[in-house]
C-alpha cells in the first residue's frame, strides 16, 4: 500500500541519530553514583549539601549520537554546594579545588585511568567502559537574593511572564572560571550560570505543543523526564546539531556551539506539531533571531550579561571565523534539509545524505526509486485529464476510449454525510 512519503526521510534520519534509552539510563546511573559519592561522610563537600544534576543536552533531552566511530558523549553535570560556601568568605579557586579533591578521590575509587582534567569552568573526567563519556562537572553555589531579583527583572523586561521569570531566577548560581580576574581572591562578581533555569525556559518553548505531546504520550508532561517528551522542538535541535557535527567534523573548534543553535531554534519554534514543519520554520526563522548589535545571541534567562555569541567578536577567536561559520552552516543546513525532504532524485539524495548527514537513508532512496517516476507519470496523467483525456477499455486514462466529461469532485465531510442521509 502506498504511504505519504513526505514524513519519512526526516523520521528516518532522527531514528539514526537518536541515542538509545540505555545511554540515558547509563548517564543517570553515573551522576547518581557521583551524587552519592559527594554525600558520603568522608567527602569534604558533604557538609555543604551537595547536589549533582545533569545540565546541557542530557537535561534538555537533545542528546545525539556522537559523530564518528569513536565518538564520546559529553555528559555535563552541575555540582551545586547549597550551604556553607559564600562569596564573602571563599574564593572561586577554593570552591573549584574543594570539588576537585572529591572528584579525584572518586576517580581513584572507581579506577578511572585518565587523570582528572581542569578546564576553565569545570572538571573533566573521562569515564570509559561500554559507553564512553566525558563528564564535565561544573562547581557552583546558589546565587544571592539581589542577583536573582535582578535576573528576574531583566527577564520580565524581555517579555517573560512573571512566574516563569521567578522560577527560572530561583535556580541561578555562581560558577568558577579560572580566567576570571578575581578567580583566586574573595570577590562578589562571580560568573552567573543557570543551566536549570535555561532548561525550564526551553521546556516552556517545548510546551507550545503541550496538548499534542500529552495526547501522544498519554501522560502529563510533568510526570515525564524531558527526554521522553520527544517534542518537535527537541527533535529539531537534534537534527540541527547532527548536521553541524557532520559539517564541522574536521574543524570542530569552528562550529556554532550547541547553545546557540538550541536558543535560536527555541525562539523560532511556534508550537508546530509536526517535526518536518517545525524544522522548515526554524531554519527559516532562526537567522532573524541573531541580533545586529551585542548581545548577538543573548542568553534568554540572563539577557543583560550573557551573550552566547561573545566569541564571535572576541579577537582571540578571530581565526576561527565563528560568525562566518554560523551563517555558512545555516545556509548549508537549509539546502541539505531541503534536499532530504523534497528531492525526487535518488542520486542527489544519496549524495547529500552521505556528505551532509553521514548516513544512507536506504528507505527513502528505495521509496524514491519506486515512486519518483510514478510521481512524474501521475502529474502528466493529471495534466491530461485537465486538458481532455479518454478512458480505455481497461479503465486506463489515456488517448483512446470514452471521452472524459468535465465534472468536479464534490463537497466536504459534512456535506457528504448529509448527502448520504
Amino acid at each position: 500500500m502506498n504511504t505519504k512519503f513526505e514524513a519519512a526521510p526526516i523520521q528516518e534520519l532522527l531514528k539514526s541519530i537518536s541515542v538509545p534509552e540505555s545511554a540515558y539510563e547509563k548517564a543517570k546511573a553515573r551522576y547518581e553514583d557521583l551524587g552519592k559519592w559527594f554525600e558520603r561522610q568522608e567527602s569534604e563537600c558533604s557538609n555543604h549539601s551537595p547536589h549533582i544534576y545533569p545540565q546541557g543536552s542530557f537535561r534538555l533531552g537533545t542528546v545525539i549520537r556522537p559523530v564518528g566511530e569513536n565518538g564520546e558523549y559529553d555528559l555535563d553535570l552541575g555540582c551545586r554546594l547549597r550551604e556553607g560556601i559564600s562569596k564573602g568568605v571563599h574564593s572561586q579557586k577554593y570552591l573549584k579545588e574543594l570539588v576537585g579533591r572529591d572528584l579525584e578521590a572518586y576517580r581513584k575509587a572507581r579506577s578511572i585511568l585518565s587523570p582528572l582534567e581542569p578546564k576553565h569552568r569545570c572538571w573533566r573526567l573521562a569515564y570509559a567502559d561500554e559507553l564512553s563519556f566525558h563528564m564535565d562537572v561544573v562547581p557552583s553555589i546558589p546565587e544571592g537574593q539581589t542577583q536573582r531579583l535582578m535576573l528576574k527583572t531583566a527577564m520580565v523586561t524581555e517579555g517573560f511572564i512573571e512566574t516563569l521569570a521567578s522560577n527560572v531566577a530561583d535556580h541561578a548560581g555562581s560558577i568558577t572560571d579560572d580566567l576570571h580576574p578575581s578567580y583566586s581572591v574573595i570577590a562578589a562578581n562571580w560568573r552567573i550560570s543557570n543551566s536549570e533555569g535555561y532548561a525550564i525556559w526551553f521546556e516552556s518553548r517545548m510546551r507550545l505543543a503541550q496538548t499534542l505531546l500529552e495526547k501522544r504520550a498519554a501522560a502529563r508532561l510533568d510526570s515525564l523526564p524531558a527526554r521522553n517528551w520527544h517534542s518537535p522542538l527537541q527533535q529539531v535541535v537534534q537534527l540541527l546539531k547532527w548536521h553541524r557535527d557532520n559539517m564541522f567534523q574536521k574543524n570542530p573548534d569552528s562550529k556554532p556551539i550547541s547553545v546557540i543553535l538550541t536558543t535560536l531554534a527555541a525562539h523560532s519554534y511556534r508550537g508546530e506539531g509536526d517535526v518536518e514543519v517545525a524544522l522548515a520554520n526554524v531554519l527559516n526563522q532562526m537567522g532573524g533571531h541573531v541580533r545586529h548589535t551585542q548581545p548577538r545571541v543573548p542568553n534568554p534567562i540572563n539577557p543583560l550579561e550573557e551573550d552566547f555569541a561573545d566569541k564571535w567578536y572576541d579577537t582571540a577567536n578571530a581565526h576561527l571565523a565563528l560568525e562566518y561559520n554560523f551563517w555558512k552552516w545555516l545556509e548549508k543546513a537549509k539546502e541539505d534539509f531541503g534536499v532530504v525532504a523534497t528531492t525526487s532524485d535518488p542520486e542527489l539524495l544519496e549524495k547529500v545524505a552521505a556528505e551532509a548527514f553521514g548516513t544512507r537513508l536506504p528507505n527513502r532512496r528505495a521509496e524514491l526509486e519506486r515512486v519518483g517516476p510514478k510521481r512524474i507519470a501521475l502529474f502528466e496523467k493529471a495534466g491530461q485529464i485537465a486538458s481532455g483525456a479518454r478512458t480505455g477499455k481497461a479503465g486506463v486514462i489515456g488517448a483512446i476510449g470514452v471521452s472524459n466529461l468535465p465534472h468536479s469532485f464534490y463537497g466536504d465531510e459534512t456535506l457528504h454525510s448529509t448527502d448520504e442521509a
Binding site: K374, A382, A386, G395, L405, E413
Partner: protein, 161 residues
C-alpha cells in the same frame, strides 16, 4: 398518442434503462462484469488508471431511479476529509447540486472515466497530501466544469522537485 411523445420512454421503463446501461458497460468497459438482478445493476471490475498505479477493485451499483454508488473494494481506502468520499466509503464523483444524476446519464460515459480520474487523484494525494482534482467549493455556488489547471500548475514544483 401525441402527449406520449413528450415523456421519455425510460421513465416508463426503468428496468429497460438498467438493461441498456448493462449493455453499454459490457461494450465499452469489458473489464467490468455486470449483472442485473432484482432492479439493481451491479458492475464489478478492476481498474489500473495508469501504468504506475495500483490496481483497484471497483463496485458500481445502480438501482432503478437511483444515483450510482461507486466503491473501492480493494485496496482499503483510508477515510480523510481531503479525499472525496462519503462516510459509507462511496466515492463522490460529481457535484449533484449542479448536475444531478439523470436517468438519461450513462455509467460508461461518466461514472467509469470519473472513477479512473478519482483513482489518479487519490494516488497523487498519497504522494503529495493534497487533492489536485477539480473540486466544487464547499457551501458556495458550484464552479463551472473547468479542469483545475491552476491547481496543477501550483503543484508543478512537486513534480520537478
Amino acid at each position: 398518442m401525441v402527449t406520449k411523445r413528450y415523456i421519455p420512454r425510460t421513465r416508463h421503463d426503468p428496468g429497460k434503462h438498467l438493461a441498456l446501461q448493462c449493455v453499454h458497460m459490457r461494450k465499452h468497459f469489458p473489464c467490468f462484469k455486470c449483472s442485473l438482478m432484482r432492479g439493481t445493476l451491479e458492475c464489478l471490475g478492476e481498474i489500473t488508471p495508469s501504468d504506475d498505479c495500483d490496481t483497484y477493485r471497483i463496485r458500481i451499483r445502480l438501482r432503478r431511479s437511483g444515483t450510482p454508488k461507486v466503491r473501492v473494494l480493494n485496496p482499503e481506502i483510508q477515510q480523510s476529509s481531503k479525499i472525496h468520499m462519503f462516510p459509507t466509503g462511496d466515492l463522490c464523483l460529481f457535484d449533484h447540486r449542479e448536475k444531478p444524476w439523470m436517468e438519461g446519464d450513462n455509467l460508461h460515459e461518466k461514472i467509469v472515466p470519473w472513477t479512473a480520474e478519482w483513482l489518479v487523484y487519490y494516488e497523487l494525494y498519497l504522494l503529495t497530501g493534497r487533492w489536485l482534482g477539480t473540486e466544487a467549493p464547499h457551501g458556495s455556488t458550484p464552479k463551472k466544469d473547468q479542469p483545475n489547471q491552476a491547481k496543477l500548475d501550483a503543484a508543478a514544483d512537486d513534480k520537478n522537485n
